[in-house]
Amino acid sequence: MAQFSQERLGALNAAYARCIDNDEVEAWPAFFEERCLYVINTADNHAAGMQAGVVYADTRAMLRDRVSALREANVYERHRYRHIVGLPVVLGEEDGAARVETPFLVARIMRDGATEIFACGRYLDRVVEGADGRLMFAERVAVCDSRNIDTLLAIPL
């Protein structure tokens, strides 16, 4: 039986944030199971049960496509994120998975130095323990508090 302690979940989130913020997004899909759900949505849509996301991926392969598009295809000005991830709260456990809610805040740093809060909200996760004993995301829905996105969203939250 997997243990979903706050310490283990905190370490998972720390590694996740570090991967994105240190520009190592190639490693980002590995935080998810092969069949997974990763969605960026708004609090309004989430409350209304609307499923479409500004990003919607239901396989790890789709996450890999996000990374290759970020690196090869899409055009945007160079920028970085800094995630500040709060303490995870375990809402419940069933079938070996934990439902976890974790607040996040993401600052965006543009190439000219302009730094602003780009997004804040909560991650609604279903966390499982992989075969190798690592915790992974079966689901991660980033529910943004605001419905507004400034200019564009290229790097994942």
Binding site: I40, N41, T42, D44, N45, M50, Q51, A52, G53, V54, V55, Y56, A57, D58, T59, A61, M62, R64, D65, R66, S68, A69, E72, A73, N74, V75, Y76, E77, R147, N148, I149, D150, T151, L152, L153, A154
Partner: protein, 414 residues
């Protein structure tokens, strides 16, 4: 040189449609005049979907240009739209995005309005304890927010502040109307709403929407995956005055080697770039005509886009000289099967602020806005595909962008 002379020299614009002076994107007087002559002029502005205000008493708050508007369905099921401004002191009447109500009460002094926007109650009109109150000759019917004409097209609600605006079918013309009805052919369901704020003048965004020339050059995703290449079967339909447009193409999934693309050595034409999940682009021919991409705009600020099976409406609202708000409404149909809905959710990745295809459009207007600082006397060149605004069987043209300026110059009288 007097102030007026300075203004005049800054604002010259030669006749025709192949040059666009950059001061048009940076001038406060132009912005204010646009609000009056374009958005509040003889045009139809997208307000909401009928499905969003299906029941009597349902309403949504929206904008015509930068003017706040309430659109509601009244007790008789009729569509009503009026300014979201209390006739008393000008405060917003409704503060939420939408909801259901029997009437509206301004929070400031509790003046009450019915669903048609008529003033129905003035708090303490007769005074308190026989003192104060409105003068005896105060008549509520003399005070109300401005009302809009409304029209419903294919389940969408449009509004106009102009008494003499042509009926919407005439405004759109048969070709545009047909292409709207092609997509919105049955009851829709909203599957997501997003707002995107972009750092440029609203006209730069509308030009981008109407510019079929840029699509496969700026957007690698389109080109690499054969979603949209100018060599594909397709074309541009421009409405009579140039105000509205449709750009469309039919995609075959077979690779399409093309001499012009290879010769240009385009950044957007990348060999060896493949999707790990190509099934995301499969989709199905839901409109039965093989058209896999249709971008349609209605002047001044409405876009309906079909990119394979992702369907979305964009409401384009000016929010200052160098700021534009895009309100995205992602759509599905009520009768979508679970598999179809999943495909739409997956293809929602193509569109919106994080869209594989549309992401760049959020940024490129800002590149122009910043690039033209200090270039008030310079101008953009629009000569691809000639000088006219006629419908063309190819998309290597800026005809529909010129069409935008033809409609714009007509309304602005410049």
């Amino acid at each position: 040189m007097s102030h007026i002379d300075i203004a005049a020299s800054r604002r010259s614009w030669e006749a025709g449609l192949t040059r666009v002076p950059y001061w048009l994107y940076r001038d406060r007087d132009v912005y204010d005049t646009e609000q009056k002559r374009v958005f509040r002029g003889p045009t139809w502005n997208y307000l909401c979907l009928e499905a969003e205000i299906a029941e009597p008493g349902a309403y949504r708050t929206t904008f015509v240009g930068d003017m706040p508007v309430i659109v509601a369905r009244d007790e008789d099921g009729e569509l009503q739209a009026f300014e979201n401004r209390c006739a008393h002191r000008g405060a917003l009447i409704a503060l939420d995005d939408g909801g259901k109500t029997r009437d509206f009460a301004c929070v400031y002094h509790a003046w009450r309005y019915d669903l048609q926007g008529n003033l129905r109650g003035v708090a303490f009109q007769q005074g308190v304890n026989g003192k104060g109150g409105m003068p005896p000759d105060f008549r509520m019917e003399d005070h109300q927010p401005r009302k809009l004409r409304t029209a419903a097209v294919a389940g969408m609600v449009f509004g106009s502040l102009d008494e003499d605006v042509p009926p919407i079918e005439e405004y759109l013309g048969d070709e545009i109307l047909e292409r709207i009805e092609r997509v919105l052919c049955k009851p829709v369901e909203v599957i997501g709403r997003f707002t995107q704020t972009i750092p440029n003048n609203w006209k730069l965004y509308m030009e981008n929407v109407k510019d079929s020339y840029h699509a496969s050059l700026l957007h690698v995703f389109f080109t690499t995956f054969n979603l949209n290449r100018l060599s594909q079967q397709g074309g541009v339909i421009v409405s009579e005055t140039g105000a509205h447009h449709v750009s469309y193409s039919k995609v075959s999934r077979q690779p399409q080697p093309n001499a012009e693309y290879s010769a240009e050595k385009l950044r957007s034409d990348k060999e060896g770039y493949a999707l790990a999940e190509p099934g995301m682009l499969d989709g199905w021919d839901e409109f039965g005509d093989g058209v896999t991409l249709q971008i349609l705009s209605v002047f001044p600020g409405f876009v309906l886009a079909q990119i394979r099976n992702s369907l979305a409406i964009r409401q384009v609202l000016p929010a200052g000289l160098d700021s534009t708000v895009l309100n995205w409404t992602y759509l599905g149909f009520e009768d979508d099967t679970p598999a179809q809905r999943r495909m739409r959710l997956r293809q929602s990745n193509l569109t919106g602020p994080a869209g594989f295809v549309s992401m760049e459009d959020g940024a490129v207007g800002g590149f122009v806005q910043r690039g033209i600082a200090g270039a008030e006397g310079e101008q953009a060149v629009l000569e691809m595909g000639g000088h006219g605004i006629e419908t063309q069987e190819n998309r290597t043209t800026e005809a529909s962008v010129r069409g935008f300026w033809n409609a714009y110059r007509g309304l602005m009288e410049i």
